[in-house]
Each structure stands twice: as C-alpha cells, then as structure tokens.
Symmetry: C2
Subunit: 409 residues, 2 copies
C-alpha cells in the first residue's frame, strides 16, 4: 500500500506559488530576506499550514521551526527540512521546495491514513542564504551545536540590525532548546541550482555530498611600466601572471577531472590602462571538489604554479585564504536509496555532488543525511528566472515521500 | 675646431631646472598642461631665452614656436625641436630636454663664434602630450600639414576650453603659416622613457624609428554561472577566454622576438565575484613593433587565437580597433650618424626603437628626421620621479651639437 503512495503534485505546486506571494517582487521573483517582514509573513503561512496538517510546532531561540507528526513510537523523528529565506533577487523554489515538499509528504500520509513507526518532522532553518546575516546557514549551525547561539544572535544584518532583535521583532525567538538535536535521519529535497540534470536528461539527482570549497585571494605586485618603451624581458607584469594563473586553474580542473571545478571569477588590474603594464592584480580562485584529497592536490598544484609564475616574472605574490571547508559526504546508504527509489519509479537518476552549501551538510554532522535534487531550468538559481517543471517537482517529492516513510519504519 | 666643440652641461642643466619652476608641483614634479597659465609662463621664458640668444622667433596659428639662427646662406634650416608641455604629473626632462638642448647648441655655437652654412632652428610644438587636448601632437601635425588647423583649434580640453580660445587667451595664436614647412632636417633629443639604456649601460640611444601601435579592445560575452554547481564542460567563461588571450599575447611577443611588445593592461570582469563564472570580460591588447609586417603578423595571430578560444568556450567575441598607427622609420643615414658620433665621443651607444610617440615622427614625413635618446633612471617617465643624470644630458647634447653642425654644412 505504502509502496504505491504518490504525492499530489498540483497541491505542492499550489503551495509553492502561494508562498511566493510573501515577499513577491514585481518581476515575478521573491525577496524574502531572513527575519524581514516578508520572512515573517512566509513563516506565519508555513506555520499555519503545519498546524492545519496536525503538526506540533516548536520554535527555537534562533528561529528554526520544527513541526512534528507523531509516530507509532516515540523517539527521534525522521526530519525533512530546508529553508524559506531567499536572496534579494531570489526565485520560488530554492529552499521552499524542501519545506513545502515536506508538508506535501505529511498531507499525503494524512490522506492515506498512514502512521509511520517513527515520528516525522518538517523543519525550516533560519538564514540559510546568508543574504542578510553572516554567516550563511547559521540556523542549522546553531541547531546542530556547531555554532554558539550567542554568536548567531549578535550577527548584524546588512541593514544594521542584530539577528536577536529581529527575531524578537517578528516573534520568532522561541524557547525550544538548541545544540542538542535529536534526529534519526535528515532528508532535504532541493533544486539543483546547476545545469547538469536538465542538460543530461535526468529527473532526479542523488546527491553524494557537498563539495569542499577552497577560496584563495592572490595579490600580485609587479611594476607599472610603459607598454611601448619597456621591452618584454624587463617587465614585471602582474596582469600577465594573473592571466597565467587563471589559465592554469582551468588546466588543473581538466587534469584532475571528476567533480573538480576551478573558477577565477574576480580579477582586477591596476592601473587598468591600455598602455600601462599592470602593477597590481587582485584575483580570486575558487576550487571545489567532493574529494578532499583531490581538492588538496588542486590547491597544492595551483599554489606551486602561482609561486613559480610570479617568481619568473619578478612579481611578488601574497596569498590569503578566504574560505576553506572540507567536503561533506552524505550517508552512502541513503544516497543509494535515493538512486534505487528513483529507478523504481522509472525516473532517470544521476549521482552528483552539490556545488552549493545546504543545511543538510550541517545535519550530516549529527545524523545520516542526504539530499534529493530536482532539475533547474537552464541551471539558473539565485535569480528571479529560477524554474523547475511541475512534473519534476512532483517526482522529487515522490522520492522524498518513499524515502522518509522507509526511514520511519 | 668644430670637431672639438662641447656643450656647457652645467648651463643646460641650470636651464632645465629653471624651466621646471614654471608649473612646479609641490612634490618636485611639473604640471605644465598645454596652453595653461603654466604653459604660458614656460613659453614666455623659453621665448625670452631664444631672443637673448639672438634667434628670430615666429609663432604659428596653433602656437608652435620656432627660433631661427641665420646661417651663411639662406634656405631651409636644420631644426632641433621637441615640446615643453607636460602631463599632469610630469617630470622635468620629457620634452624640455630637446628644446633646451637646442638652445644650448645655439649658445655653444654663439660662444665659439661659429656660423653654420645653413640656418639652424629651435622649435617647440604645441600639445605633444595630449594630456589636455586630443589628439596628442596636434602642434606638429598641423605644422607638417598632416592635420587641418581648424581641427586642432576646435579641440576641446579636459576642462572644457577650445584650443583656439586658449591660444588667444595666453597670447600664443601667431601668424606664421602652417602646413608648408621648410625644414632641411630635424633632430630631437629626448629622454628614453624606458629602461633599456640604463639597464644595459648605454649613454646614447640611436633611435631607429617610432613603433607602430595597434590597440584592440575585446568584449567577450559568456554566461554568468555558479562556480560550484556548473561543471567545467558546461561553462561559457568570458574570464577564462580573456586570460587565455592575455597569455597568448605574451607568447606572440616572445615568438616574434625583436622589438615586438604585447601588453594586456586593462581587463575587467563582470560580475567580478569569487563564486560566479564571469559573464563578461572587457580587455585591451596593445601591440607595437617598428616593423609593420611583423606587427601585422602579431595582429593576425592574436585575432586568430582569440576567435578560436572564444568559439571553443562558447563565448562571443567583439573586437574593436582603438588605435592603429604604422611604424615611422627615421632616416637611416641620420641614425647611422648618431651612432657614429656617439662612438667618436667614446659614448656607449645602442640602436633602439621608440616605444612612445614623438613630434619627430610627424617631421619625418616632410624631411629626414631622427632622435637621440638619453637614459631614463629606472625607465620612469610621465612621473614626478623622472630623472636623467647631468652627465647623460650633457652627452646627449654633445651628440646633438655635432650632428646638427654636420647637417648644417
């Protein structure tokens, strides 16, 4: 019986569109920055839905909201979660899909009269995006005990407000305890935010883990010189070294292969004039891999090349780490189940890494966790044009339903 | 007798320092923008010196000033020239050396009682730098007939004034004819403005010509994408293509060798963020060579690579020529004489191109012309720190003296 359960895709789609009205932008996108008035309106709506579905709602001191559905037995719930905050030019699906997908799972089980052995929970975490407060994902960080509550409460927003004050103002500073989570397993349904599934014709992504991230800033200092009067052999061209490093970063990604990506997204020359050899180049290198050993290899090869290239040109190199996070692998047995369930539903499925961060990576530290990806049209996210087809959303929610009911037995 | 004539280096040095007082900057540099009050003061001083030395001064309609010393015979004079305008953060020697070096030649001949067969002339041309009016060198362009007087007179300065009005205001709109120059030969003594002579231990540069210049702007348009979620094979990274072109520009210069230089001085990415693949790159490529065929080769190789690199990445390429000037070779027999005279004086001499533009390239269109370079400390010019040692300045003026007395026989 439970094997045949399917979600109501139209109902889930309708909830997604309804939530998008809170913080709706005139251009069709959504601006629901964490702990803003729009976020409060979105929270109120989701909490109302949770209560209508019979969930017991608790709110903790950093504003994370958890709605619990009782099981046949007590104990740690199987949690479905994500976030409902957005970036300023956000879309309708990033985050919202995981939360409202969870509600759709609950409603489907309610309609079918199914009570799972373990409790189920649907959660949304505060400030996943980090678009209003730093750091991003402080809700799930505090929830799992990886960050002190006080640190998050005193975070100051881009508009100069403390998170603690904003929580109080919108009425979402609750009394549920933080830092001692009791979760049996965690599953997050999310849009891919990348182009792979759509481009390759897959409906479901079985997410193997979140890529480790290494951000480095290089400051190269050479000598400003006249582009006409300075022979090539006498140059100390910071711009040339920066370009050589950018080209080499691509080569490293190509040679390491697999999930390795490398991006030089920011590069600024000075004085930045057509006829002056650049004295200074400021550049960033973003390296990511799900395999920490390969990520370290990429970092080492990049640094070795940069040091050599700078020395060869008589340019000084200063390197500064801007961010470094180890990869987070998801529970292999859960990844395998996502894959198997999708296949059972005849949904084309691909294992892939997540290139972006998600609350699931915090939950992975305290319980078996995994993610299910649905395709993003054109790979576009953090953009008002973000879109996922209704049938893909329904398919993702079906996989979510099957997986959490299995886990709750 | 004339073979043994030497300039008075101390007197020349003293005039250079005195002229630097007009438009002096508090930091030791000079700001004597064309047709400004400071330029007027500098002009008045040089004209006064010309008259004190017995020269007959004429001023033409674009403000070029020519002081003529009679020869034994009438006819076209051998002209020594340069400019006295500076950039806003200029030094004391760029331009001034050629003009005051000319006056020193005159005074040395006066002192020795030498009258040359042909007349001699010392000239300074208006707005060589182009720091206040566009285009640069419009004085010598009008003088030689390469530009219509009206075009130059209606040029509007960076502070919104017409050149014609400024000439009238400072009293340097004269009545000498333009566009029909009568010059037997032209010699310009100038600081190198590059590092080669100093770095390689030469006192004199025998300038073979002015490099041809090719400036191209590339606009590369790809697709902004998430640096984590977009696999390498799906990228359209405008920044990567720009970097590859910059690296290839260096390779072209290395492979062509000789005088070929290549510079990517300006490169701007957008959105220029650490974690976003660049959608757009705007870059300039500055190619220069004294050999026009090789310069064309460099241009063709660059364009061929850029087109291929952009296509390979699925990035569109727009190319726009910002400037293109053919090389200007100086009269070979004059270049050879500079070299020979320097050697006769036991001055280490090197043939080299000029990477910067000079009035001499305009004069080269109407008479045999050449330039003599003196070393620039650290290759620095267009900078308050511009410096050339007194003994190098005296050596350059000695070569100038010998060459013009030869040419005036």
């Amino acid at each position: 019986m439970r094997q045949n359960l399917r979600v109501n895709g139209a109902r889930l789609w309708s909830r997604l569109q309804r939530l998008a009205e809170e913080g709706a932008r005139p251009d069709g996108g959504v601006c629901r920055l964490a702990l803003s008035d729009a976020d409060k309106a979105g929270r109120d709506l989701v909490v109302q839905w949770m209560r209508e579905l019979g969930l017991t709602v608790t709110i903790d001191a950093i504003g994370n909201v958890v709605g619990v559905r009782r099981g046949e037995e007590d104990g740690a719930p199987v949690m479905i979660g994500s976030h409902i905050d957005t970036v300023a030019t956000g879309g309708r699906y990033d985050g919202a899909l995981g939360v409202l997908g969870g509600l759709e799972v609950i409603e489907t089980l309610n309609d079918a009269g199914v009570v799972t052995k373990r409790p189920l929970a649907v959660a949304f975490f505060t400030n996943e995006e980090g678009a209003r407060f730093q750091p991003d994902m402080f809700g799930s960080l505090v929830f799992t005990g990886a960050m002190a509550l006080e640190t998050a409460l005193t975070s100051v927003s881009i508009d100069g407000r403390k998170a603690g004050e904003e929580l109080k103002r919108i009425g979402y500073g609750g009394d549920a305890p933080v830092g001692k989570p009791n979760v049996h397993a965690y599953v997050e349904l999310h849009v891919e935010q990348g182009p792979t599934l759509e481009a390759e014709g897959f409906a479901i992504g079985a997410v193997e883990g979140v890529q480790g991230i290494s951000w480095t800033e290089f400051t190269l200092t050479g000598q400003a010189n006249h582009a006409g009067t300075t022979p090539m052999r006498m140059r100390h061209d910071a711009g040339y070294v920066a370009a050589a490093i950018a080209v080499h970063a691509r080569r490293i990604a190509d040679e390491l292969g697999g999930d390795q990506v490398a991006t030089v997204g920011a590069l600024t020359l000075s004085p930045n004039l057509v006829n002056v050899v650049a004295e200074r180049a400021l550049m960033t290198i973003d390296l990511r891999n799900t395999d920490n050993e390969r990520l370290k290899q990429a970092e080492a090869r990049l640094m070795s090349f940069a040091v050599k290239a700078a020395a060869g040109e008589g340019v000084t190199l200063e390197a500064r780490s801007l961010a470094r996070f180890d990869p987070v692998p998801f529970a292999p047995h859960l990844v395998a189940r996502v894959e198997a369930i999708a296949k059972a539903f005849d949904l084309p499925v691909k294992r892939l890494p997540s290139g972006a961060g998600h609350d699931a990576q915090m939950l992975a530290a305290i319980c078996p966790a995994c993610m299910i990806f649905t395709p993003s049209a054109g790979g576009i996210s953090h953009n008002i044009a973000e879109y996922t087809k209704p049938e893909d959303i329904a398919a993702g929610a079906d996989v979510l339903l099957r997986l959490v009911t299995e886990l709750a037995e």
